[in-house]
């Protein structure tokens, strides 16, 4: 009964490849997010969707494209992967605008070689 689930948990790929990370939440939340955690553990928001509509788009390279087919799913597609994309990517969800805290998935560790 995982609340926010991400797949895959680990992803190792070569530079230049295109990859996707999937996220699903079964909490009935309206808003979903992608966060990036770098090697120094800094957590930075990338995107936020509310009911399938993009509401936050931080200064993220346009090689990153989120897609939300419905409010329970938020996928992240990354084109032309670079070494600097190596990080842990966390999906999260929250009711309404996040006033009540976010529930995080367990993360996807992406390694670009």
């Amino acid at each position: 009964d995982t609340a926010v689930s991400q797949t895959p948990k680990y992803l190792v790929t070569q530079m230049g490849n295109d990859k996707s990370i999937k996220c699903e939440q079964n909490l009935g939340h309206d808003t979903m997010y992608w966060y990036k955690q770098d090697s120094k553990k800094f957590l930075k928001i990338m995107f936020s969707y509310n009911n399938k509509e993009l509401i936050i788009n931080e200064t993220v390279p346009n090689r990153f494209s989120p897609k939300s087919p419905d409010k329970a799913h938020l996928n992240l597609h990354i084109n032309s992967l670079e070494l600097g994309d190596s990080a842990v990517y966390f999906c999260a969800s929250s009711p309404r605008g996040g006033d009540y805290g976010y529930t995080f998935g367990s993360g996807t560790r992406l390694t670009v070689v």
């Binding site: 926010v4 997010y33 120094k40 553990k41 800094f42 957590l43 930075k44 928001i45 936020s48 936050i56 966390f90 999260a92 929250s94 605008g97 996040g98 006033d99 009540y100 805290g101 976010y102 529930t103 995080f104 998935g105 367990s106 993360g107």
Partner: protein, 110 residues
């Protein structure tokens, strides 16, 4: 700009000793404030949150935090640390989005 700062990068504490982790925020109005814990290789787990009302907030795992408007702080405390409390702790503030401090790594000595 809205921001959250955790001044301590890492803290070492003996098992059974008390723990206090510092968090300062900079927002135009009082934001919603959170503390999360991340165990090695895991996601983030919500420890507690503050929206309004009582400035001393109780959370899970025996943690509490105190909101002090005059100091723009929201420090996390635990009276007696267990070895399983070794983890990375993140303070977060939410205006229109949840922004985290840089994290504090807690090491627990036996």
């Amino acid at each position: 700009a809205q921001s959250v700062t955790q001044p301590d990068i890492h803290i070492t504490v003996s098992e059974g000793a008390s723990l206090e982790l510092r968090c300062n925020y900079s927002y135009g109005a009082t934001p919603y404030l959170f503390w999360y814990v991340q165990s090695p290789g895991q996601g983030l787990q919500l420890l507690l949150k503050y929206f309004s009302g009582d400035t001393l907030v109780q959370g899970i795992k025996g943690f509490e935090a105190e909101f002090k408007r005059s100091q723009s702080s929201f420090n996390l405390r635990k009276p007696s640390v267990h070895w399983s409390d070794a983890a990375e702790y993140f303070c977060g503030g939410a205006g229109n989005k949840l922004t985290f401090g840089g994290g504090t790594r807690v090491l627990v000595k036996p």
